[in-house]
């Protein structure tokens, strides 16, 4: 064997060993079971094979925009008050579609410069434009708007990840779903109680503590009637958690008039834990951060005797009288079950979602179906592989061994790659492996047919092999590129399982360039080295 050939052989064996390591790692034992266990360790199975849930969530980014605009309106009002700017109306003309738009009406022309200065200095993320009849339109700058929306998505991902982690779900995937706008992809292998997990993810968990001005009322109308049809300034009307069957009111609805500003919010929380109240009912205890504690202490100190409302997701959870100054601790009671108090404290710890969440897609594969799919996929792969290997042996005889070796190495590299890269193997991915067998052998057929042709044209075996490889090479590159182009597009547009298919197909074909061309050639060269002139090539 010449030296060049020796090095090539060593290289091929090294590649094979490296990728075998990729598939098996260092197996604990070489029994069938031990090998299987180590494969399962190295190659990640997709949800469709191992079972699990795939969810697509829409972040209602408009909520975050609206909250920001609400905040801006409050700031504008107070700034205009200090600057003595009079206005007739300030409102959001289109909160559904353009939540960042604020309209101010009735500002005197001579005060417009002041207004412009306020927006410029105090609301740097907003632009001011003049409209007809002394009206002004304030809207968020496009760059700030898109940043706000993206931040809401990033924050939602972070919060959901916190919650999922605390639920103890193993190996979850939580990421931005690139295919839609402001969507999140969540993959949960093996969740036991999907309904509960979904509820926990979806819960906005916006906690606010506000001062109760008056209440409770049995209906919105009643609350307004008490105040002659208009809410007192700087207050909001909020629904309470319904207390079924209590009092004379049949619906059990309760309404409260609360201060618009909140004393503290969920952002000021440091910790939340499940606990029990005096009556031994489940409750949630919370601890405020030092900053929040200072503010809360000041507020409660000056409002002893007033009533406080704990508001969760815009629903009044409970109302209590302030007995004395409270610094940094509080308790939320309500009609919780043990589980609910646990979940609520967990959700509060993980922080609020910046915007509401809606489920767009839900797919759950039961473990029984996943196991079936693996069985079917592996069976189809083995039958397909054996059929192809046998055919190549019968049709090309001696050279069939060559092709079969190349094909097996092709599969080793493909599976080893899956092990190394951490890419997941899905059911369509297994189909990709099977197709790789069929399409990979194409390269060998192309080369062999060409060699046969050259032999027929009277070339000697070494020259026929040489010509066969070089002619077929051009075609092989073209065919591989076109297939990889379609696989690449599939990867760009596909999701989950389909992506797995694109990945295995692409890497199967790339590995095929190496095995069918390089490896196969080395095997031929090694064979021809011992070849006596005039002896026929078994092809």
């Amino acid at each position: 064997m010449n030296k060049n050939l020796l090095w090539k052989t060593i290289f091929i064996v090294a590649v094979m060993l490296v990728f075998l390591y990729g598939i098996f790692g260092v197996p604990s034992s070489f029994s069938g079971q031990g090998l299987l266990a180590s494969i399962q360790n190295r190659i990640h199975l997709g949800l469709d094979l191992r079972g699990g849930t795939h969810l697509i969530l829409q972040v209602m980014v408009n909520d975050a925009v609206k909250a920001d605009a609400d905040n801006a309106i409050e700031r504008l009002k107070s700034e205009m008050r200090t600057a003595n700017i009079n206005y007739s109306e300030i409102s959001q003309p289109d909160p559904q579609n353009n939540a960042d738009r604020i309209s101010i009406k009735g500002v005197a022309p001579e005060q417009s410069a002041d207004l412009r200065r306020i927006v410029q200095d105090r609301l740097p993320e907003y632009d001011l434009a003049s409209g007809p009849e002394n009206s002004w339109a304030v809207a968020m700058k496009p760059s700030a708007l898109s940043e706000l929306k993206n931040r809401a998505v990033a924050q939602a991902i972070e919060t959901i990840r916190n919650r999922i982690d605390q639920l103890g779900v193993s190996e979850p995937v939580i990421e931005e779903h690139g295919l839609g706008e402001y969507q999140i992809l969540v993959q949960l292998p093996g969740v036991d109680d999907l309904a509960r997990v979904k509820e926990i993810m979806q819960s906005t968990a916006m906690l606010e503590i506000r001062q109760e001005i008056s209440g409770p009322f049995s209906s919105e109308q009643q609350a307004l009637q008490q105040n002659n049809g208009v809410l007192p300034p700087d207050t909001v009307l909020m629904r309470g958690k319904s207390v079924a069957g209590s009092g004379s009111d049949r619906s059990g609805d309760q309404w409260f008039i609360l201060s618009r500003a909140s004393a503290v919010t969920g952002r000021d929380l440091r910790d939340a834990t499940p606990t029990r109240d005096e009556n031994n009912r489940p409750a949630v205890r919370f601890v405020l951060s030092s900053e929040g504690g200072r503010r809360f202490g000041a507020f409660t100190g000056s409002h002893v005797g007033d009533r406080l409302a704990v508001v969760l997701d815009n629903k009044v959870q409970e109302v209590a009288t302030i007995q004395e100054q409270i610094k940094d601790e509080g308790r939320i009671t309500g009609q919780f079950t043990e589980q609910q108090s646990k979940d609520l404290s967990m959700i509060l710890r993980s922080g609020a979602l910046p915007a509401g969440i809606r489920y767009l897609e839900e797919r759950t594969v039961g473990p029984s179906l996943g196991a079936d799919s693996i069985r079917h996929g592996v069976m189809a792969a083995i039958i397909g592989l054996v059929a192809v290997l046998a055919f190549m042996l019968i049709y090309y005889r001696g050279s069939g061994i060559n092709a079969d070796l190349a094909l097996i190495l092709n599969l080793i590299i493909l599976l080893g790659f899956l092990g190394f890269s951490g890419a997941t193997l899905t059911l369509p991915g297994i189909a990709g492996v099977i197709l790789t067998v069929g399409m990979g052998v194409d390269s060998n057929v192309l080369i062999f047919e060409r060699i046969r042709e050259e032999l027929r044209n009277g070339k000697t075996p070494p020259s026929a092999v040489d010509q066969g490889f070089s002619h077929a090479w051009v075609t092989i590159v073209d065919t591989h590129v076109t297939t990889i182009v379609s696989a690449f597009i599939l990867f760009l547009f596909g999701t989950g399982a389909v992506r797995g298919f694109a990945v295995t197909l692409t890497f199967g074909l790339l590995a095929n360039l190496f095995t069918a061309v390089f490896v196969s050639r080395v095997i031929f060269d090694a064979h021809l080295n011992n070849h006596r002139a005039g002896e026929a090539l078994s092809i």
């Binding site: 839609g180 196991a371 069985r375 069976m379 047919e449 046969r452 044209n457 076109t482 597009i489």
Partner: protein
């Protein structure tokens, strides 16, 4: 031609006693002479598919039978422990307010598996899983409100129940013990019985006290849920758009690549051939009423690549022969090229077909549509590279020659940019 026969003879003579297996040796089939048959064949299948799609469009509003991926909706895949009775199930569903559910047997009848699907109208994003919950509740017999359904209980629920009951009087490692038992029960149910057991006796190997204890708080419904797919209208539309775009982009990508490697007309011919394959494959789905899902689109994109493979192999040979045989007409060159590559074309298609057939026969229900698309597509893709793409090149050249008033005797088709390094030898 004579020269070729002579060399062949010599080559065969030199390898005497070498009885090799070969299917298509020295074929000399006049493929182009049969172009009208090919055209008729392609037209019949394309038009049949188109008529079926048109009919479907008129009656259902969509030219193709779309799966839940694209049309949106709810799909629950249920395994029963005994053969399900469709009208009985329909009755149960109607009782809980589901009127137009579609019931469909899936896989081997002996498996007692049923797909229950709801229209997109029953699936809104406000409460995405409402339909699913309704279906499951309708199927649940629930003889006793206090008991739970073991066939649809999670390992965690089982473990928690056993922990509170402690039937084995387990010591400090009760948690681990009951976790193992719960896992064992779920494994038996899901792996051995496909998701639903018919009686507690089937829990072979589970400690008897644990089974007895479970029987007090759990009953066995006659079904287990194997798979749930719920796609809201927004995602359905999104996926539809993406699928169209993916197919379109890959066709354009191929066109550009072939333009760069060969000449524009080669690219156009290849893309027309691939488009023809896609059309006929989609037509087959419409004719057989099989649903187009995401994985089917993946299969179709694979076909685009695969059919392109076959076409390129033929084109490569045409390009080579145009340079080699300057005196022959393009029609002869194309014919010769097809014949020369025929052995390879049939072989690889046959081998790929073999693997795909194995997938179709043994790959299970989930991959059924995927492998069906490949089975149809590989046959059509191979056919089209011979019967559609190559004749188009000749037709183009004849058309161009006529326009310029030349006779189409000599191959005037551009022989492509000489990018090959092969010829040097």
């Amino acid at each position: 031609m004579l020269l070729f026969a002579a060399t062949n003879f010599r080559a065969a003579g030199r390898r005497k006693g070498n009885n090799e297996v070969e299917f298509f040796r020295n074929t000399n089939i006049d493929f182009l002479g049969k172009k009208w048959y090919f055209l008729a064949f392609s037209l019949i299948f394309s038009v049949a598919g188109l008529i079926s799609m048109g009919h479907r469009w008129a009656s259902t509003g969509s030219p193709l039978p779309l799966s839940v991926d694209f049309r949106g909706g709810t799909l629950v895949y249920v395994k029963f422990t005994k053969p399900p009775n469709d009208s009985e199930i329909r009755g149960k569903l109607e009782k809980s307010g589901i009127r137009d559910a579609k019931l469909q047997r899936i896989g081997n009848v002996a498996n007692n598996e049923l797909l229950i699907s709801l229209d997109i109208k029953e699936t809104s994003e406000q409460a995405l899983d409402a339909g699913k919950n309704k279906i499951i509740n309708a199927l649940e017999p629930n003889p006793d409100q206090t008991k739970k359904d073991l066939n649809n209980a999670s390992a965690q629920t089982i473990q928690e129940f056993l922990l509170t009951q402690d039937p084995l009087r387990a010591g400090t490692d009760a948690n681990q013990q009951y976790q193992a038992i719960a896992q064992q029960i779920v494994t038996i149910r899901d792996k051995n019985f496909g998701g639903a057991i018919g009686s507690f006796d089937q829990l072979n190997g589970v400690p008897a006290p644990a089974v007895q204890s479970l029987q007090q708080a759990f009953y066995l419904s006659d079904f287990g849920v194997r798979n749930v797919e719920i796609v809201g209208p927004q995602v359905g539309k999104q996926l539809q758009q993406q699928a169209w775009r993916a197919v379109l982009y890959s066709l354009v990508g191929m066109l550009v690549y072939l333009w760069f490697r060969f000449e524009l007309i080669y690219g156009i011919a290849a893309v027309v051939a691939v488009f023809h394959d896609t059309l006929i494959t989609l037509g087959a789905f419409s004719l057989t009423d099989k649903e187009i899902s995401l994985t089917v689109i993946a299969a179709i994109l694979t076909l685009v690549g695969y059919s392109m493979n076959d076409t390129i192999v033929v084109f490569d040979r045409i390009r080579e022969n145009i340079k080699l045989l300057r005196r022959e007409s393009l029609a002869e060159i194309v014919n010769k090229s097809i014949n020369q590559t025929l052995s390879r074309t049939i072989l690889t298609s046959g081998l790929t077909f073999l693997t795909v057939l194995s997938l179709f026969l043994f790959g299970g229900e989930v991959l059924h549509g995927f492998s069906f698309a490949l089975v149809i597509g590989i046959i059509i893709g191979t056919y089209s590279s011979i019967a559609v793409a190559a004749p188009m090149l000749v037709a183009y050249q004849e058309w161009r020659a006529k326009k310029q008033g030349q006779t189409a005797q000599v191959a005037t088709l551009p022989a492509a940019k000489a990018r090959e390094k092969v010829r040097a030898r």
